[in-house]
């Protein structure tokens, strides 16, 4: 299996082989973060720009650490410091960045398709670090990596995703990735937060949270996307928490060795109780650690792709 893509824009266009290549490569890169010397010279002389139009701590830090552990130079540009606030178009920003000859541009944007537009303008590799409600491919890959690590397999798993499915790029990317495997995916959340055509993606929709978590191997909790107007889809956060907050009693209905995932940042006490978030079934911090490994693998594959 060889990697030939210039960009990682979404999971939708990836084959199963490409997904597995990333996961397998990430296996090797994970070890580096656990050494005393957490650095290899692989991407020496390469430049990675992170261009973030939305606030993010976790994802940007993860990309930055991944790049640095591979010896690449990183530059972080956020919307508040960029020309975006002065009204410069994405196209002009892209052209300006391209003139500085980066090898990779990691972009997060509040609008779907912005990374695709960027990739058409620049020769650098483009990594989508989240575009509106569309995709968040590196998150899905680290989620699959974590599932495989904890369960030794992906095939055969029952995966339940709970929350604001309509506005979740994490849910979309996970669904696009998981449908390559023999999994059963159940989406749960208030009907206002699940699009009418959701089942056309081959997932099950179960509004009743208690039924949705039954026999789950993996429960993935999402947060309410306040910045995407998520709050207007429910009467109140309190009511949402009562109906869809993940509590210890839900875990009894799931498989005995269920794992609890969350892409972060968590709203403790809203979609997840402290007891569950910090409990023995939670793999939320493993996800964060694996995120670095997966992003190292992606940076390696994109910069070293076959011309």
């Amino acid at each position: 299996m060889k990697w030939s893509r210039k960009d990682l824009l979404g999971i939708r266009e990836l084959s199963k082989e490409e997904i597995l290549l990333i996961l397998d490569s990430a296996d090797s890169f994970k070890d580096i973060s656990r050494r005393e010397v957490k650095k290899v010279p692989t991407l020496r002389g390469k430049t990675v720009i992170t261009l973030f139009y939305e606030p993010s701590t976790r994802t940007r830090t993860s990309f930055e650490i991944a790049a640095k552990r591979l010896s690449a130079d990183t530059i972080n540009i956020s919307a508040s410091t960029s020309s975006h606030v002065k009204g410069e178009t994405l196209k002009d920003t892209a052209r300006n960045l391209e003139s500085m000859r980066p090898d990779v541009i990691v972009i997060r944007h509040n609008m779907p398709g912005a990374p695709h537009m960027l990739s058409r303008i620049v020769d650098s590799s483009v990594i989508n670090a989240g575009d509106g409600a569309h995709e968040h491919p590196t998150q899905a890959l680290l989620d699959l990596f974590t599932m495989r690590e904890k369960k030794d397999r992906i095939d055969g798993l029952n995966i339940t995703i709970v929350g604001d499915i309509a506005h979740s790029r994490v849910a979309r990317s996970n669904i696009f990735a998981l449908r390559h495997f023999n999994t059963r995916i159940t989406c749960s959340g208030p009907p206002t937060m699940i699009p009418p055509d959701m089942e056309s993606l081959g997932v099950h929709v179960e509004y009743d949270m208690n039924r949705a978590v039954k026999d789950a191997d993996v429960i993935m909790m999402l947060r309410i996307q306040k910045e995407r107007g998520g709050i207007s889809y429910i009467p109140s956060v309190k009511e949402y928490s009562t109906i869809y907050g993940l509590k210890a009693e839900h875990l009894k209905k799931a498989k005995k060795d269920v794992i609890i995932m969350h892409p972060g940042p968590m709203n403790r006490g809203v979609e997840i109780t402290d007891e569950v978030a910090d409990g023995p079934y939670s793999v939320i911090l493993d996800q964060v650690e694996n995120g670095v490994a997966v992003r190292m693998a992606i940076l390696y594959l994109l910069t070293g792709r076959e011309a």
Binding site: W3, S28, V37, V40, T42, L301, R305
Partner: protein, 178 residues
Amino acid sequence: MGEKTVSLLDKKAVDRTITRITHEILEKNKGYKDLCLIGIRTRGIYLAKRINDKIKAVEEIELPLGILDITMYRDDIFKLKLPEVKKTDIPFDLNNMTIILIDDVMHTGRTTRAAIDAIMDLGRPRKIQLAVLVDRGDRELPMHPDYAGIFYNGSPEEEVLVRLREIDGKDEVIVVRT
């Protein structure tokens, strides 16, 4: 233009050579104290295992054995067609150890350079020594093996292939001319 194949070592010769290298290692280090073996992927792993087996036969002890993947340290990584990264597995502390680094063929010395850099990021061994089955000469870096099975300085069109039964089904060293 057909391929011409010449045999350098047959099955028995491969075994004799590994036996000799094993004895040289023990002789030079005056025994096995603080010794460990690290095989460079891919065929170095199996050579290291065989050396370990022979040490066990003589000294009734197994040395710590590790696997090194040097892909992330290569200086030609972006000139190659994206080599697959595999795991390095060194399940012991290599600080203050004497490492016997094992590879099948030594040629330019660049693999050895990458391997030494990779090891140095993992700890601070007391010594690193290099054992190879075939030394092809034509060094591009100032490197030299401590233990070499045979020396064969062929022409640039020639490729020296080491075959080991664990992955290739049989033991032999051949030269292929294209």
